[in-house]
């Protein structure tokens, strides 16, 4: 598989996944861009992995989890450049979904918990694979998810 073929077939899916992780189309774009640049530069290493797609998803997830406050700020500054003629397609749906409560609650979760939720309830991965993507034990995945669900349930009760 070439990098081009990979990007052709997987880029949209990665973007969707990044949107679920970040909750924001701009951040999702930055996240995917940063990851895919690295994928392209290290393509040979990516293809050497057993499952390149899973490998890339893991890269992207790590990138998301590692985004420290510092690099986050730098990222925002970079965005301020009138660089890269990327226009985010804003759907009318955005205005509706901004009022979406579950979405707002998700934004308050720790990143690792949110990633675990996305992997289970959006990507429909079994816990063992989630653990692999997050680089932790299966038990850790389960407890992260149950803690996240407990937080959401509490929000539900309050709302």
């Amino acid at each position: 598989m070439t990098y081009e073929e990979f990007a052709d077939s997987r880029l949209t899916a990665l973007l969707r996944y990044a949107v679920m992780l970040t909750g924001d189309p701009h951040l999702a774009q930055d996240l995917v861009q940063e990851t895919m640049v690295r994928v392209q530069l290290n393509w040979r290493r990516v293809t050497r992995a057993d499952a390149p797609e899973r490998y890339v998803r893991r890269m992207l997830t790590n990138q998301y989890l590692d985004w420290q406050r510092g690099s986050w700020v730098r990222r925002v500054l970079l965005r301020a450049e009138p660089d890269e003629a990327v226009v985010v397609r804003v759907d009318h749906a955005e205005t509706t979904v901004e009022r979406d409560q579950v979405w707002t609650w998700l934004a308050r979760l720790p990143r690792r918990q949110r990633a675990a939720l996305v992997l289970r309830y959006y990507e429909d991965l079994p816990d063992a694979e989630i653990a692999e993507v997050l680089g932790c034990a299966v038990g850790t995945v389960r407890s992260a998810i149950s803690r996240a669900l407990a937080t959401l349930r509490a929000e539900f009760v309050e709302a």
């Binding site: 949209t12 973007l15 969707r16 392209q40 890269e84 985010v88 749906a93 959006y122 429909d124 991965l125």
Partner: protein, 382 residues
């Protein structure tokens, strides 16, 4: 992402706890929320192009870092035909002679440190030579990659036997001989001792190239194409080098690389121009169409004459070349400085962050730069 994947039911898993809505309900809400927000997914087409552009840029940056390493490889290439000929006088300062590098084919390799100097002046001028570019190159024992640290020319340092001064002046102090031609090898030796005193790093080889040498190499390869991110106006000749790519002859190259007053970041920006130039030069020389053209190499070597001085400290040029060729295959890691806030303590001089430089040079000595780089990712200019 996995529209066609088999859905794994999560309904029976998840949290159980007292109170609140049914866990299954929350899970359904979550699934629904994710699906609803698929509409936020941006268009992949422009992103795809942005990724490609950025990858090209990053690849280029990476190459720029390889460059300084490449400049050294270049001296290696140039050294090859000189095999069996002594280049420059033997080191005049025996007390700093580093232990002979173990290039024993069977035993484990030793880490190597090189010092590469770019020197101004020359051409019979009376104002002597100063080292404008001082580059410390580290090759780890495992030969995995090159590490490059450029020391600022205006760094305030203790020059052995001459007191406190600028790093660039050490070359002058060493090479200057009233009434005689400057002794470049002695200048290089004093600079080497100065850097060793500053860093504790001992060098296995030192290479010195003058601007005259640079000009002659450039002409010998028929000009070099350099790409500049912004316009540079020469302080010396008022020539204007526009932003973008241009082919420079020797005189043009020399002029460009002397500029620092007009540049936003002074000498640091010039270092980067130097890297851009070296990259382009190496490109010319290793161009597959002409790469192993011995006539051309001989011409370049002849052009250099006394403008390239190598102090290999017991290593043969062939050994140096072999080592460099092996390492040059991997990406080089460039390490950058932020200058210490109280720089300017003495007029016109810069100082290094004491903590950072101590740990960096310690890593040089212990051959632990790989670790150091991991701990200081923000210092990597790659």
């Amino acid at each position: 992402m996995s529209d066609d994947d088999i859905k794994v039911s999560g309904d029976q898993r998840g949290a159980t706890g007292p109170g609140g809505p049914d866990p299954a309900l929350i899970e359904d809400e979550l699934r629904a929320a994710f699906v609803r927000h698929e509409s936020l997914t941006p268009d992949p087409v422009p992103l795809r192009a942005a990724i490609d552009r950025r990858a090209v840029r990053r690849r280029r940056l990476r190459r720029t870092a390889t460059v300084a390493g490449a400049a050294l490889a270049l001296t290696g290439v140039l050294a090859l035909p000189m095999l069996g000929r002594t280049v420059g006088p033997p080191p005049s300062v025996p007390e700093v002679a580093a232990p002979p590098p173990a290039l024993d084919q069977t035993g484990p390799a030793e880490p190597l440190n090189f010092l590469v100097l770019g020197v101004d002046g020359g051409g019979g001028q009376s104002n002597g030579h100063r080292a404008d570019t001082v580059l410390v190159v580290h090759v780890p024992a495992d030969r995995s990659r090159l590490y490059l640290v450029s020391l600022p020319r205006d760094l305030g340092v203790e020059v052995p036997g001459h007191g406190f001064g600028k790093l660039s002046a050490a070359f002058y102090l060493g090479s200057h001989r009233p009434g005689h031609r400057p002794d470049l090898a002695a200048g290089a030796a004093l600079t080497e001792r100065t850097v060793t005193a500053l860093t504790g790093v001992r060098f296995d080889a030192t290479a010195t190239l003058t601007y005259t040498g640079l000009r002659e190499v450039t002409d010998a390869v028929g000009g070099v194409k350099v790409c500049l991110p912004q316009q540079v106006r020469s302080y010396h000749t008022t020539r204007v080098f526009p932003a973008g790519c241009q082919k420079l002859d020797g005189a043009g190259a020399q002029d460009l690389l002397r500029q620092r007053y007009a540049l936003a970041q002074g000498a640091h920006e010039r270092d980067r121009n130097g890297q851009r130039f070296a990259e382009a030069l190496l490109h010319e020389i290793t161009d597959p169409a002409s790469a192993v053209n011995p006539v051309r190499v001989a011409e370049i070597v002849r052009a250099l004459g006394r403008n390239l001085v190598l102090d290999l400290d017991g290593m043969t040029p062939a050994e140096l070349f072999t080592t460099l060729r092996a390492v040059a295959a991997a990406d080089a890691v460039g390490i950058g400085w932020t200058l210490h806030p109280d720089s300017g303590r003495r007029s016109g001089m810069e100082s290094l962050d004491p903590m950072l430089s101590r740990s960096l040079f310690d890593a040089f000595r212990r051959d632990a730069l790989a670790d150091w780089v991991v701990r200081h990712p923000d210092r990597v200019t790659r």
